[in-house]
């Protein structure tokens, strides 16, 4: 395979100069299969013309023209707003209140500030006081506020029989529970990881009342192997604290710690700390080695990736152990052979690790106990314990046990369970490898089975009672995410529906009905409202929480002498850090025995499958969140589906040859563990040949309209390994040839091409057909041909470097920029530089080395700016609306490339090409350097979008927001949906009142969060002071877990952003076009191990 060290590409066709692709790229009009497009569109049109006769045909035609003419004079529909009769003290209309709270869902955790406007939570920000996340968030955290306003939430208690649910009163639920909770009843509580000490205490209270209660904890995507290994080696069944910020060398065996593994926000923040440096001349960086078979988010950020098959992972772990042990003079163990490239790599990695003892860290994402024991042993030899790994401040974020839930199924089948309470997000029917078996066993529970999930899901459907919990934004609660790191969850809105805290439910069922009234004021239960026996507080869980903290947490500090003082402080900060002493842990384990138990590489060319947790929708619990569904997967860049990642290059047996014909968007059948699934495929660079990868979490069958039938559920293809843990890979799979095409295949990578020129001088416009001699090779790169998107390298879009070459590359960059600036100075037109030097000039800087591509910023932008969701079909025809997109480019070795992510928003050019061309002057420049959109002046000629070199302007093609003057013309989110997303009043509560909701037919784009700038300026004015650096933070900046984005006043020479823009690593995209952008990028720097190239 040819090396393309200087080239950048985005996909296969691009790299191989596929003639059809180049031809298409040359046409600026993206071609759709016309027949299909018409049949799709028919669904929209049919609605209006359903059952239309010939007479109607003329009627519609006449009415249409009439309506269009009259519409200009029509008034907008009147929507009444009711003012407060008695204004609450805390609420000033138009002024946001922020409350410290905590986002918690299963093992996902993030301390947050909740922004509320007029009593509605509308946005989530990271809590910068937290030592764990440092103010970072993730896409899931950002999107969580939308779950509060989900129309599919259960609106009260229900009873379920034969898959049909009927509304019930809370009283009747409690009575039903009490009926079966006889003394001695065998109760099982099935839950995902619980990090709330008070909820655990409530369950303990319940257990006291019903002594035969057992809590079974499992995680849908499990790290059981890691926990069990630590239990065996250290006597602590916990996830230790990993200090990525202290690790100069990190080796990860398939752990996607920047994307999904255990605590990605924290790990990403810590990891980035060791990758950034203020001065490029003295820059130091950590180095990340990633062993994996597919391109994970972490792998795409790694300095060196080592490709191994999933089944080779165990052997690779042992190989590294042996290499390190040899250097340490310790006995080696027997291991299997791994592929030659990886074997060579392991040797030099071991050397590198050994040279960095005490500053290195080895982790594994494997769920196999034996592999984790070997990893523990490596860390032990390297002296990581006490240095980069700490058992004192261990994490509570994963506690599940795969064996326990399997044992539960046996118990239920044996008729030994009287009652099953499924807590929170636990959805075993969907997300267990043997979900069907669980469902069958559920039918054998003698008494009742109850789910407290706030949504109706696969497991709820099989239960008999539904006692929905509050959304976390409506709840009181606490979290101890790590040993001694407490945070509080406080409600920011009254419960929207007749739901009840799970904690209160447990107390009620424990028989505490007097102290903790079972009755919440329920709309459908008039007697309950009339006569609650004893009311202590309208929020019993609050009383319980306070009592718990008073007796258990208050004593862990000495700062406050009164509990009230302590409580107020903790509630204000949202967090409380107790002093915890670090614990090295003493390793005791039999590596030799473990080494024999690790997975054996499957020889030959059998197809292997890697299963991974989706970055967007997790293990499936986030499936009904349209913001997350519409966020492109960072690596594959597809939306609304799980696509099968296949290698670009198949080799080996003849049977794989035909698979080379598979193209992005083709459908193919994957047979794994005896089951067959149909997936759309996407060719992914950097995949080990003859392996495929597929995301878990899709294909929900019982969920809200958004989550249902989105993608394919593949949990039931998983297997439980011999050691009793779920195994996240499979061997011996087969993949069929092309079986049709996914017509709505929605992959956004090619939607915004910025490099439309061919290299000059080439015949046929630079396009050449692939060489004949490359017949047997699926793709072939002729170095003389410069690929289409690859010519991006000739335009200043992406700049990369390595730590070793940094000084030279910086010099080249400075020279190149001088050249561009010199050319730009020759312009005939007058500039306005002098004007922009006065007052504020807003700038934004992105550090490409720190950006990991996680997508938190793009979801934060959607939340902040009311960006509409358009659905899969609309995305497939390039109609997505995201103001901030993250482009993914490959560079380097085409077989195992590096990846650079580039968040691209409006560049706010001082010579903006869009402003010139608008015939009505709807977009113009502010004196502070902002490129502004005036929505109500826009008539929708789209000329500005055409003329934007960065392709960041978005057009409201259809009525995505239901803000149109014509009703009933919204596109549906998915085929078969009755209503467009966001058309209902509940979902619209999430809208940010500071940002206009755009109607159909207008252009929109990133505004640099002008509403935040304005708010900060007004605040400064009221306080009679100058605006300070840091007063204004854009939504993307606050969301970023790694601090890659900086926003501020570039004219303020002391500001952070000014320093960043003045740094020599900084460059501007397409500077040669002389658009004078206000956004700067720092070149992507890697710290490659040159021995491994």
């Amino acid at each position: 395979m040819n090396k393309q060290d200087n080239n950048i590409w985005v996909g296969v066709e691009d790299l191989t100069n596929d003639p059809q692709y180049l031809e298409n790229a040359k046409q600026e009009f993206f071609e759709l299969p016309i027949v299909d497009a018409l049949s799709k569109e028919a669904s929209v049109i049919e609605k209006a013309t359903q059952g239309a006769s010939r007479r109607d045909f003329l009627k519609y035609a006449g009415f249409g023209l009439g309506a269009a003419t009259i519409a200009a004079g029509c008034e907008m529909p009147v929507r009444k707003a009711i003012p407060y009769v008695v204004k609450p003290d805390a609420i000033v209309p138009g002024v946001a209140n922020y409350y410290a709270s905590t986002y918690v869902r299963g093992g996902d955790y993030c301390p947050i500030l909740v922004k509320t406007r007029e009593g509605r939570p509308i946005k989530v920000e990271g809590n910068t006081l937290s030592p764990i996340t440092g103010g970072g968030t993730s896409a899931r955290v950002q999107a969580s506020v939308l779950d509060l306003y989900d129309t599919a939430r259960l609106k009260g208690a229900f009873k379920v029989a034969k898959g049909k649910k009927t509304a019930a009163t809370w009283k009747s639920i409690d009575e039903e529970v009490a009926r079966f909770l006889k003394p001695g009843a065998q109760v099982r509580v099935l839950t995902n990881t619980i990090m709330s000490p008070s909820l655990k205490a409530a369950i303990a209270d319940f257990t006291t009342a019903h002594p035969n209660t057992q809590v079974v904890t499992y995680d849908p995507v499990s790290v059981s192997g890691l926990l069990d290994a630590n239990s065996a080696n250290f006597g602590q069944r916990v996830v230790p604290a990993y200090h990525f910020d202290k690790a100069d060398r990190v080796v990860s065996f398939g752990a996607d710690f920047l994307g999904t593994w255990i605590s990605p926000i924290q790990y990403a923040a810590d990891f980035a700390k060791n990758r950034k440096s203020d001065d490029y001349k003295t820059a130091t960086m950590s180095r990340l080695y990633q062993f994996e078979s597919y391109m994970s988010l972490t792998g795409s950020n790694a300095d060196n990736r080592i490709l191994v098959k999933p089944s080779e992972m165990g052997a690779a772990t042992v190989a590294l152990y042996n290499a390190v042990a040899k250097l340490a003079g310790q006995p080696t163990v027997s291991g299997s052979k791994i592929n030659a490239t990886a074997a060579t790599a392991v040797a030099s990695i071991a050397k590198d690790l050994w040279a960095n003892q005490g500053k290195s860290l080895v982790i594994s994402g494997s769920n196999d106990v034996a592999e984790q024991i070997v990893v523990n042993a490596i860390n032990n030899i390297l002296g990581s314990y006490g240095a980069t790994i700490d058992f004192g401040k261990y994490s509570n974020q994963r506690q599940g046990s795969d064996a326990a839930v399997q044992a539960l199924i046996k118990e239920m089948n044996g008729g030994q369970v009287d009652a099953l309470i499924v807590l929170g997000d636990a959805n075993p029917v969907y997300d267990l490898p043997n979900g069907d078996a669980f469902k069958a066993a559920l039918g054998k529970v003698k008494g009742f089975s109850l789910s407290t999930n706030g949504m109706y899901n696969e497991t709820s459907e099989a239960c008999s009672l539904l006692a929905p919990d509050h959304n976390y934004l409506e709840s009181w609660g606490d979290v101890e995410a790590q040993n001694g790191s407490y945070s509080l969850v406080q409600p920011t809105i009254n419960p929207l529906f007749d739901t009840r805290s799970a904690l209160v439910s447990f107390l009620a069922w424990a028989g505490n009905s007097n102290a903790y009234p079972t009755v919440m004021p329920a709309a459908n239960d008039s007697t309950a409202v009339a006569a609650p026996s004893v009311v202590i507080s309208d929020r019993p869980e609050y009383d319980y929480l306070v009592k718990y903290w008073q007796s258990n947490v208050f004593g862990k500090q000495s700062k406050f002498s009164t509990f009230q003082g302590f409580w107020d402080s903790a509630l204000h900060d949202g967090i409380f850090e107790a002093n915890v002493t670090a614990s090295v842990g003493s390793f005791a384990g039999d590596v030799a025995a473990a080494a024999t138990k690790v997975s054996k590489p499957v020889s030959g060319d059998a197809l292997e499958v890697a299963f991974y947790e989706s970055i967007n929708i997790g293990a499936g619990q986030y499936a009904n969140n349209p913001w997350l569904q519409e966020m492109p997967d960072p690596v594959t860049r597809h939306v609304w589906d799980n696509v099968l990642c296949i290698p670009v290059n198949w080799n080996g047996k003849k049977s794989y040859k035909s698979l080379n014909k598979l193209k992005d968007g083709d459908k193919a059948e994957l047979t794994v563990n005896g089951k067959t699934y149909t997936f759309a495929v996407v060719r992914m660079f950097g995949m080990k040949s003859n392996t495929v990868a597929i995301a878990l979490g899709y294909g929900r069958t019982v969920d809200g309209a958004v989550g249902v039938n989105t993608g394919t559920n593949i949990y039931n293809a998983l297997k439980v390994s011999k050691s009793g843990t779920t195994q996240y890979f499979a061997t011996g799979a087969t993949l069929s040839n092309r079986k049709g095409e996914d017509h709505d295949f929605a992959c956004v990578q090619h939607h915004h091409t910025m490099g439309l020129t061919t290299k000059e001088g080439g015949k046929d416009g630079g396009v050449r057909k692939a060489d004949n001699k490359a017949k047997d090779v699926p793709f072939y790169v002729d170095e003389e041909i410069l690929a289409y998107q690859g010519t991006l390298v000739d335009r200043s879009v992406i700049r990369t470097s390595t730590l070793a070459n940094l000084k030279d590359d910086v010099k080249d960059l400075v020279d190149e920029r001088h050249h561009h600036q010199h050319l730009n100075d020759q312009t005939l037109y007058p500039g306005y530089k002098d004007i922009y030097k006065q007052g504020h000039h807003w700038n934004l800087s992105v550090d490409l080395s720190a950006c990991i591509g996680c997508g938190a910023c793009s979801v934060a932008c959607m939340a902040e700016n009311n960006v509409p969701v358009v659905g899969k079909h609309e995305v497939s025809i390039h109609h997505e609306m995201s103001w901030l997109r993250i482009d993914r480019y490959y560079y380097g070795d085409s077989e195992n490339p590096n990846v650079v992510y580039q968040p691209l928003m409006c560049q706010h050019c001082d010579n903006a090409p869009c402003e010139n061309v608008c015939p009505v002057g709807a977009t113009n420049h502010s004196s502070e350097g902002m490129n502004q959109m005036t929505y109500n002046r826009c008539i929708g000629t789209r000329y500005c979008a055409n003329n934007c070199p960065y392709k960041v302007r978005r057009f409201n093609w259809l009525d995505y927001t239901t803000a149109d003057i014509f009703p009933w013309n919204e596109p549906t989110l998915k085929d078969g949906d009755e209503q467009a997303f966001g058309a209902d009043d509940l979902t619209r509560m999430v809208l940010n009142p500071d940002v206009t909701v755009r109607s159909r037919g207008v252009i929109e784009k990133c505004s640099f969060c002008v509403q935040r700038v304005q708010e900060a300026k007004l605040t400064a004015k009221v306080e009679r002071r100058k605006l300070r650096d840091g007063d204004v933070k854009s939504a993307c900046q606050t969301a970023c877990p790694t601090g890659a984005i900086t926003f501020g006043d570039g004219n303020d020479t002391n500001s952070e952003v000014h320093k960043k823009m003045a740094d020599k690593r900084n460059y501007k995209v397409l500077e040669e076009v002389n658009t004078a952008p206000s956004v700067g990028y720092w070149m992507k720097v890697l710290n490659k191990n040159s021995d491994l190239v």
Partner: protein
Amino acid sequence: MSAIVAKVREPLIEGNKSYHDITEDICSPTERLPGIAWLVGLLVSVSVLTFGLVCIFITIWFGIGTWHLNRTIGWGWDITNFVWWIGIGHAGTLISAILLLFRQRWRTGVNRAAEAMTIFAVMCAGLFPLIHMGRIWLGFFIFPYPNTRGPLWVNFNSPLLWDVFAISTYLTVSLLFWYTGLVPDFATIRDRATGFRKKVYNFLSFGWTGAAKHWQRWENVSLVLAGLATPLVLSVHTIVSFDFATSVIPGWHTTIFPPYFVAGAVFSGFIQLYCSTGRNSIGFSAKNLSRIFSGMYCWCFSIKSRYDGTSSGGGTIGILF
């Protein structure tokens, strides 16, 4: 025929017709009921028009998104059609105006159809930028009219605004040119008509009596308008090409577009004229035209092909023709 025609030339009108015969030929279609062929033609046209209206309804009701336009270029058949129709119009102007300036007598056989085609083509051209707008009901924002919003003016830097002025100027001149040519013919029909019909044509013919002074002034006005219309052909399509040529987009940002557009316009317009002057349904037959068209075809084709080969940008915009 009293006019003196060189013997070596093929006569323009065959059949040894007198002036009276020609007047009869021209006026009689307006004085009798249309034939079956004409009615069938009308029916077909109205059906297609109705289909077009339904499509426009869908576009306006649901939004331009129903066209499946997308990124990175938000334009498609809307602007393609706009450019194409303008081009069609140009051929009509060229035919009648340039041939008048060059005193080509055979021009009279086709000039009326050519000028009418120009006007309808410009109207079609105006339609597409309107319906391609996201919010057509606010389309009046594009005109610089005094208003109470500041006043808020249009952006005179925008090539789209130049389009507005270019097209409206072109429409005005074409309309005048067309109507001026019609005046003597209206008078002829008026002289033959009776009753209400006579009154209408009386008004339309502006009191034309056929006096020598009338003819002299008529000739002068026709020449002036033809002189105005001819450079417009170049300037209007040049300005249309500025929509693309003045942008910063690779493939669009190229200096060849103005001549390229003009050549392409004339090229496609002549073919349209060739098609639309097959007027058998009202009893005329086109003669001598194929000779003219083949000459024009060769000329345009040579210009077009010259740039196809060398300009990569030309290929991009080639779809417009």
